[in-house]
Symmetry: C2
Subunit: 423 residues, 2 copies
């Protein structure tokens, strides 16, 4: 029998207890052992909860409990969770966590501390989709060439609604908040930070690369509007918040930003709150993983699959996946300015003679060539026009300089908006 | 160091050797050991091959070689492969196989014989997609409610072409043969048998159910024509060869047949030679797995992932997944006649008064109610009309009886064609 303690018995924690109890038949069959939750830690033991295990507010009742084999950390946050997971590992207890922020900041320290003690973290990325397992084990024969993911359901819900209904961001955000798909302060989701945490975890498995969220390119979806949607539809794209990890030579690009993705790509077909992750391996080609990226029951499904794995294999599995020898591959983070891709630009200008030629001149000076172009009258101001265009592949550095120069022109109303295109 | 022997060094086998040699860096890092192919068995050693390992035509050089830890079986076929895998297991060698036919017929005997010796078979279903791992480990916390798969690239290529170009089956089949996507004798693929073998493997993992291909409903795509495509498009469906495993009470439906699938479902968006498998778990909901279902390199990627798993875990993993306690769940195969679903029917009739009322009367007698209806003039014969209609949910038994009765009517030209609808 394997005994587990749960630190943080909220939505996910309650579902973990439920699954262990209600699906005991298959869990015991598949793991070869009974897995029993014997203690939950909560901040307030007086609050009514729908779980049938003893609860305590003292973490020692789990961390110092010699009966407990596996500690499930579901409290969230970084610092306190790090202290708790560290103590669990020091006491030689296996750890299962759904905490992406913890891993985004401390995954390598935890790996070094854990040694042969397993740490399961399937639930930390894309909820119920077994993407960690696919990347770490299913595709283990491959050098990973690229990962492109839709890993934030809030953003995908908002962008899907905007595409389907030509609605504006602020209106759809309000709707998402009303439906419980977005927080009162939505920054962590719509700003791309949540997706960035997940990206770093996958990038460590694929590339053994140790970087912090602050080091990578992160842009949110707040500035996207119906003109961008219009252009995307016109030219056969969908707009998605993409998490991208891509190997180019000895460098790895890591970035999170909205992107125009060709409609025909499988990842462009992932709609609503769902998540999808496309992985390109050098041997297998493209595989894609799709499913619910959040929700108590789906996330708990991933937590329990980790428990079953640990029960099966004990210490024979390098659970963290980002193992030391991989770090020796010497891959480093590509500086943001060196990214090469295609770009879409929206600029609102005062509609007078010579505007277009001036803009073309500036783009040309920065080695940027236009691929497609659309001009529309501004819906709000008669004297203004909206210019929508895409570029051939060019350097981020050049685009940024060009955008800076454009934004200083007197006939440009706002700083132009740029969205990257990922073919 | 783990030493492997390969029996059958064709396309997949050569790629296995290449991956082990060319991706040695990550494979060693991820498995913790070097994995080295030391011997390949081929029928004709004089034939020139692009592999740099010693070759022999004597299987004993692998099976009786005390140095070899893992035997990779890539020869295909059932009987001889069964003999060879049996000998390998008796010699306590782990086995990795891509042979779906072998497992469709002998998976339970092999399980019982293997005991704690691992058998890896990720490559036997859906090529490079790690669906075995997802189902066996990633979703291990779930009772599986249903599996719907597109697991035959040949059929999906043909059906996608038919949908996109309104082409007829025989023409597209010829094109597929010219492109190498279909065999000279395409029966095994287009008749649904290949997909059925794969379905049985997945059904064993999900439900512990031991049935042979002959016991389940298998229908191919040969009879689908452009009228069916027309109806499907008109009513928002795609036509796919689906493999379905579905739990209803204590029974499991297992069936392979073309089906009308609503366009908006993710599985309906899997086009061309690609495979996709949707799995519904009681806790996680729907997850979907997409990728190349065939091809030497993709299939070899799956074979090598099994080798890495075995190197990591040795005997700690119930590799076969369809473990004995699951069989006690007492699930049995649902008799074909008890299937309940919606149906689409195409009937070519001589266009005269009273035809429609006669058909309606027969359907009504068998408790079948019509959901949507389309009548078209027959393109070839002016006096004929084609009736296309779908039904509400009814029993397979009733549909079969009604079709039989309809086919005996004098004004019906051919036996009506029926395609199931899977919402």
């Amino acid at each position: 029998m394997i005994k587990v303690g749960i630190i943080g018995v909220g939505t996910v924690g309650s579902h973990v207890v439920k699954i262990l109890q209600e699906n005991e038949d298959i869990i015991t069959a598949r793991s070869g052992k009974k897995i029993v939750p014997i203690m939950g830690i909560v901040r307030d033991t007086r609050k009514k909860r729908d779980v049938s295990i003893p609860l305590s507010s003292n973490v020692d009742d789990v961390l110092e409990n010699p009966e407990i084999d596996i500690v499930i950390e579901l409290m969230g946050g970084v610092d306190e969770a790090y202290q708790i997971v560290t103590r669990a590992l020091k006491n030689k207890k296996a750890v299962v966590t759904a905490n992406k922020a913890l891993l985004a900041y401390h995954r390598y320290e935890l790996r070094d501390l854990a040694g042969s003690t397993p740490i399961g973290y399937e639930a930390s990325v894309a909820g119920g989709i077994p993407i960690i397992k696919a990347l770490r084990e299913g595709l283990s024969a491959n050098h990973i060439e690229a990962i492109k993911g839709i890993m934030n359901g809030t953003c995908n819900f908002i962008l899907t609604k905007m595409m389907n209904e030509k609605a504006e961001f602020t209106d759809v955000l309000k709707e998402a908040q009303a439906l419980g798909y977005a927080e009162a302060d939505p920054t962590f989701d719509v700003g791309g930070f949540d997706a960035a945490h997940k990206l770093l975890i996958l990038a460590s498995i694929a590339y053994g690369i140790d970087v912090k969220p602050e080091e990578i390119l992160i842009e949110g979806i707040e500035y996207i509007n119906s003109e961008d949607i219009y252009f995307a539809k016109e030219f056969g794209y969908n707009i998605k918040l993409l998490t991208i990890a891509k190997k180019s030579g000895n460098e790895v690009e890591l970035r999170v930003h909205p992107a125009l993705v060709p409609m025909k790509q499988m990842i462009a077909k992932v709609d609503g709150v769902m998540n999808g992750i496309s992985v390109i391996g050098d041997r297998v080609g493209e595989t894609m993983y799709y499913g619910p990226g959040a929700g108590g029951s789906a996330t708990a499904s991933a937590v329990v699959s980790d428990l079953i794995d640990i029960a099966r294999h004990q210490k024979n599995s390098p659970m963290l996946g980002f193992i030391k020898p991989l770090e020796k591959s010497g891959l480093t983070l590509m500086p943001k300015n060196n990214i090469c891709t295609q770009y879409y630009i929206r600029a609102t200008v005062i509609d007078k003679i010579g505007v277009l030629s001036k803009i073309s001149e500036i783009l040309g000076k920065h080695s940027i060539s236009i691929r497609s172009f659309l001009q529309k009258q501004d819906g709000k101001r008669e004297e203004c026009a909206v210019l929508l265009f895409s570029t051939h592949t060019c350097k981020e550095h050049d685009i940024q300089n060009a955008l800076h120069e454009l934004s200083e022109l007197e006939f440009i109303e706002h700083k132009p908006v740029m969205i990257r295109i990922e073919e």
